[in-house]
Point group: C2
Chain length 309, copies 2
Amino acid sequence: MSTVSRVINDTGYVSSDSRQRVMKVMEELHFTPSNVARGLVSGKTSSIGLLIPDVSNPFFSDVARGIEDAASTLGLSVILCNSDWKIEREQTYIDILKGKWVEGIVVVGARSSEQQLQSVLSGLPFVLVDQRSTQNVSCVWIDNELGGYIATKHLVERGCKRVMHVRGPANSPSAMGRHQGFLRAVAERTMSGKFISGNFRFESGYAAMGKILDDGLPDGIFAGNDMMALGMIQAAQTMGIKIPQDFLLVGFDDISFSSYISPTLTTVRQPGYLMGKSGVELLNQQIAYGHSKPQSREYQPELVVRNST
Amino acid sequence: MSTVSRVINDTGYVSSDSRQRVMKVMEELHFTPSNVARGLVSGKTSSIGLLIPDVSNPFFSDVARGIEDAASTLGLSVILCNSDWKIEREQTYIDILKGKWVEGIVVVGARSSEQQLQSVLSGLPFVLVDQRSTQNVSCVWIDNELGGYIATKHLVERGCKRVMHVRGPANSPSAMGRHQGFLRAVAERTMSGKFISGNFRFESGYAAMGKILDDGLPDGIFAGNDMMALGMIQAAQTMGIKIPQDFLLVGFDDISFSSYISPTLTTVRQPGYLMGKSGVELLNQQIAYGHSKPQSREYQPELVVRNST
DNA sequence: TTGTATGCGTTATCAT
DNA sequence: ATGATAACGCATACAA
């Protein structure tokens, strides 16, 4: 009955009498209109995809929360997809999401290249979060290079003479950016800046601490992210090395746990929640105003000084 | 063309010639069948809802990961809904999910009563995770009472004479269960067992430490969850109180950070990832075999002894 | 083995 | 102001 449709959508002419009756019956039958049928006719499913490496990772779970909150505000539902940093899984999920006619996808920390993404997405709106676009796609990011620079400079200003970097994985643009910033800060003072590679995980930081000790302890270390920094703190603890007495430590991300440990961790804040929120807003622009000009939102990394330095 | 449908679903008779041609064309056009249209005709959307208080909470993000993994394995997509422990939001999301024709809902740590849930869901399959059912609905849970008992008994066995409990919120069945276990263990030794209320958050544990100090420090504290325990560790640290020298501390959950801090936290493990995974499996039973007999899966709380005791 | 018709629940267009 | 009809994309039942 089209009259029903009219009262539901509040469109067209409906006598107040009919409206009353329809509303009454809807109450009685607990009637909920089918978004599936609606989607089929309108092409709009009011759903978006969230492609993210791992929701159980503290930084990403913050991002995810920001995304879901913003989406919810816009009346959009979020379909959660964990890719585990695997390109293959990214592609698989994208196919599924396309089949579901999501209105767009928020891609967080993707491993696939932008070309791959664009090719597979074939026109479906999407935004990159935690990643800068080199093509012309909407994205939300922070200047990792600057963040790495700030972190390292802080170490130097605190009087460190031998600084080191525990870098994230080489296939992560964020990790590489931070490393670049580290190198720039180090070059400015004509210091040497050694680094070792990790994988952004706690265990990786823990293990790094061992290797570092073999090479002789530096007086300042910039960890590529907070999880590795936590690992280093834990390792240092068991080794009887004191922070900040024996060396200063700076992390990256400012996950909540950075201020929940001892020593509280000096770190470079990345506003995960906000970045997620912004991502959805940009995506919504794309969705609403068609394939207009992509926008990007850049956040500034911010040093948060705590007890580890 | 129904032949196309036949090759996609691999049903009915199709000459290998036609199959070849169809597949070829599908490749060329990057054809992806619409799950929306499919859902409309079959009534199956291959989507489930995930209603959870807060994905950015470490325990819940573990659960969420388990759920998404299991769902993905079963070919189900997960729609993420954060309720913030608000009954109102739970209801709102449920309505949305119903409109989307999800095949079922995994309800994690709900605040709504089972009656409310059943009433709003009106027949839609759902399972409770992190909550025991008093009605007849599928659920995955651990024995919180036993967990609380184990934690407290551990304290006693370690020689504590005056134990305390920092409880979670009164409207949380988990919190109350753990408290009950605490009381039972205390009663067995005819000890007094004071407690104060918290809200399961870090700040709450931090604040609790202050109040506890006013009443005179006990020699053993059982915190209602790990987040509060972390808050207490942090507060103790700033107050110059040493753990486990000045008092022993046991948490609950075993979130990963429990072993990432100093002192590493003795805690009662709750297998969040597994519980999420099981939840989906039970839900799938409900979905597949109609409204058959609900099942429940109980996990045993397990004491993990670390340095805080 | 293949094509045609019908219906899923909703909305938009057209008649009434 | 309201009802009838077509269409969305697919799968099923039926006819060829």
